[in-house]
Symmetry: C2
Subunit: 139 residues, 2 copies
DNA sequence: ACTTTTGCTTTCAATTCGATAGCAAAAATA
DNA sequence: TATTTTTGCTATCGAATTGAAAGCAAAAGT
């Protein structure tokens, strides 16, 4: 696992972790769709290859953005959950969504997402609250 | 130039344009440091290779995030400027910066950036205002 | 007992990246 | 005017990364 950073710039360092083709889509699925297992995340519209998903989950775990556990009822399935550090990526995810919604329609069909017309701070808060509420089920 | 999008998700589509290793760093330099020429942007701390910078500028121009012009005083230099669509990426850049500043110090040395302790909306507005003011010099 | 599901790993070809060199036109300098 | 430097790239080519497909062992379901 490479842990090198291009510079001391916070933007650059953030991108060195989540600035690849897949990480933020994995986090989107966990955060907005409450996906928790390898299978759940594999089944996205964008079809991530298992080798890449496996590598990305390990990297995100190594940077404490997600945690990996099991539940007693199921010895096979791993449960991946966002940590608070991962949950704090919510504003980035929401801004990417808002920008795409407002600026990409001239180049490709963009799905209509409901709830994007509220105030930014409200959207972010409700996404985070909802994820945190779900987390309570996993002690 | 490939123009394929993985899905209709606005997050995914945004990442299909700026979700590579370099685009958002190029935009950071243009937006925050008011860099305008190939040379200016080449001289960043992260050392982007000219072949990659060339390819990325073309792609960003094709998606109308930047424009390419010349000034009458200099027949050689190209001037790259952010369009309003590009300037609207400011919230994403600021959120990446804030997240890195607050969450990456456990893994790497992060430069202290001044002005990050103001209110988010204020930071975003002042970055955009400053860039727009600079743009007035280029008709 | 068997079939299916899950969470991966392995393989390997294709694509992308990126360091270096090179180059023509323009600008700066002598 | 002649020469040097700068600028904005492009070309090359080895290295790294990606990704489609297959494989597999353990657990779960039937």
């Amino acid at each position: 696992m490479k842990k090198e950073f291009r510079s001391g710039c916070p933007i650059s360092s953030t991108l060195d972790i989540v600035g690849d083709k897949w990480s933020l889509l994995i986090i989107r699925d966990m955060l907005l769709k409450h996906k928790k297992t390898f299978k759940d995340i594999s089944d996205s519209d964008e079809r991530i290859a298992p080798s890449i998903l496996s590598a990305r989950l390990k990297l995100l775990e190594s940077y404490h953005l997600i945690s990996k556990t099991k539940i007693p009822e199921n010895k096979k399935e791993n449960i991946y959950l966002l940590t608070q550090k991962g949950i704090r990526l919510t504003p980035i995810i929401i801004e990417l969504s808002l920008w795409g919604d407002a600026n990409m329609r001239e180049f490709t069909k963009i799905d209509d997402i409901e709830g994007l017309n509220s105030d930014k701070a409200t959207i972010i808060q409700s996404v985070q609250d909802s994820y945190n509420a779900m987390l309570l089920n996993f002690q």
